[in-house]
Symmetry: C2
Subunit: 296 residues, 2 copies
């Protein structure tokens, strides 16, 4: 592939950051504490992978990254950030550190952290309602994204399965269900929503959906492996935590070597779904390849 993937990711992340900067009220806007908290967690060094995937999926359909898609990317990142803030709360994972910085409730207190997560979800849907695309596409994108962050095979559902499974021996079915829902669904819908923004047909949507489903699972397997093999400093969070709390992870069921083979095979299958687009899918494929080969 001829695409310089680091440039693609860097430029997509910059575009997303500028959109987030414009879309989240400043910390000087009343009431201050909530806007400070929203910004603390949104600008905590996230890689903006979901926005970049949405942009490259859109480029696969439209031939180039369409104008205005950075707001879709920003909304996806707000939803991702909201889920991290609530996951880190004392009543859930009780994490003090995220990407090497104090988590939202450590910095702002539990009440404001709960409300900052709530508000990031709300703001995401408000931003989606303002997307510069035909109203029918906007409505479709909102419906798909809400479904992907919901309880039935969506992000919250995966979080609940994860909580319910702690301390139990993980089965292959359970691990796949958690991964598909907890992190997979938002990645998958990032790809699909990017396509819809760019005018994807139903056939395009089906292909992007296959790609997003398989690539999303591959990314999560790689995450699980990294959690077991990389130390905390490199990872920017507490390493080995999944094992310590008996979380249902892919390597816990299949071992590290098989997990690495599974991730590679899933990426190949994901790429096959994009064959009809030829070189127009190079950007999307290179980002996915980069994500499964990363070392932290």
């Amino acid at each position: 592939m001829s695409v310089d993937v680091k440039t693609l990711i860097h430029e997509g992340a910059e575009l997303t950051d500028r959109a987030l900067e414009a879309l989240i009220p400043s910390a000087e806007t009343v009431p201050n504490s909530i806007h400070g908290a929203m910004r603390h967690s949104t600008f905590a060094g996230g890689k903006r992978l979901r926005p970049v995937l949405a942009m490259q999926a859109a480029a696969t359909i439209a031939g180039s990254v369409p104008r205005g898609i950075e707001n879709l990317g920003a909304a996806l990142e707000m939803l991702h950030t909201y889920s991290l803030i609530h996951d880190d709360l004392p009543a859930l994972d009780n994490d003090d550190l995220r990407r090497g910085k104090p988590t939202c409730h450590v910095a702002f207190g539990e009440a404001i952290a709960i409300l900052a997560g709530d508000a990031l979800q709300t703001r995401a849907f408000e931003v989606l309602a303002g997307l510069e695309c035909p109203p029918a596409s906007t409505v479709k994108i909102i419906g798909l994204i809400a479904n992907a962050v919901g309880t039935v095979d969506g992000m919250i559902g995966g979080q609940v399965l994860d909580i319910e499974s702690e301390g139990k021996k993980p089965t292959p079915e359970l691990v796949e269900a958690i991964h598909r829902a907890k992190t997979g669904a938002l990645i998958r819908v990032s790809v699909v929503a990017g396509g819809v923004f760019a005018g994807a047909t139903d056939e395009d949507v089906a292909r992007l959906d296959t790609f997003g489903r398989k690539a999303g699972l591959a990314f999560q397997i790689v995450d699980d492996v990294l959690d077991m093999t990389v130390d905390s400093a490199q990872l920017g969070k507490t390493a080995g935590k999944d094992l310590a709390t008996e979380k249902a992870t892919w390597p816990a069921v299949y071992g590290i070597e098989q997990s690495e083979r599974d991730a590679a095979a899933l990426i190949e299958e994901a790429f096959a779904a994009l064959a009809p687009y030829g070189s127009r899918a190079d950007g999307l494929k290179s980002v996915a390849q980069y994500l499964v080969e990363r070392k932290n």
Copy 2:
């Protein structure tokens, strides 16, 4: 007014309950705990006032209650319920009882209560994306509602102002800002969104917005007065709590008698905004009148 207001409210609430029953996954749907928790709080005896206001606002514009508006009502009620679940959490108001029943975190634990609130917000936007009205109206409704439950003069912003003001002496400006945002914004947008669903013009929207703003403030003043004058059994929640925690309330600033006069004057002003609709607004006006005259 010739409209039997109790019948109007009862029928609107029944319509809303049937929609909520169909739209929230059953407690047997995996993962069970979250759906059980969402249902526990959604079906806890709420009066469905926001849906009823949306329906009667729509009838003011369209001449009768339009088909499909019960899903808009259900979404409004999901948002209201999500805010109650999160308000009741130990880190916020720490309430064990709501409408005479255990609050969500008491019944299901704190983690599931946080996620149930999250999921009700998500499901509300998913339901709105599926409304049976033109896509441009749907997009407008979603944008208005997201704004009304957000941080800038919206529901979450009011909640944060309320938290930040505890223990401080309430000023008239602060009390009005909290009321306008915390409870007023969702009531106001219920009226406006009902109108948009029914095809309201910009002029209609402006009138309904004035009505909703004034009536919403009047309802909240009545709530504050009832909190000080009615005992817990009648109220279904812990009475006098606002005073005990030095919450910024209307009677705390103006006294009970002035508060009652203010509520009555606001309702008169709200009605004036509906004058152009003549008897078509009777349903909406009768519901508002009922709400300021209620005794619990």
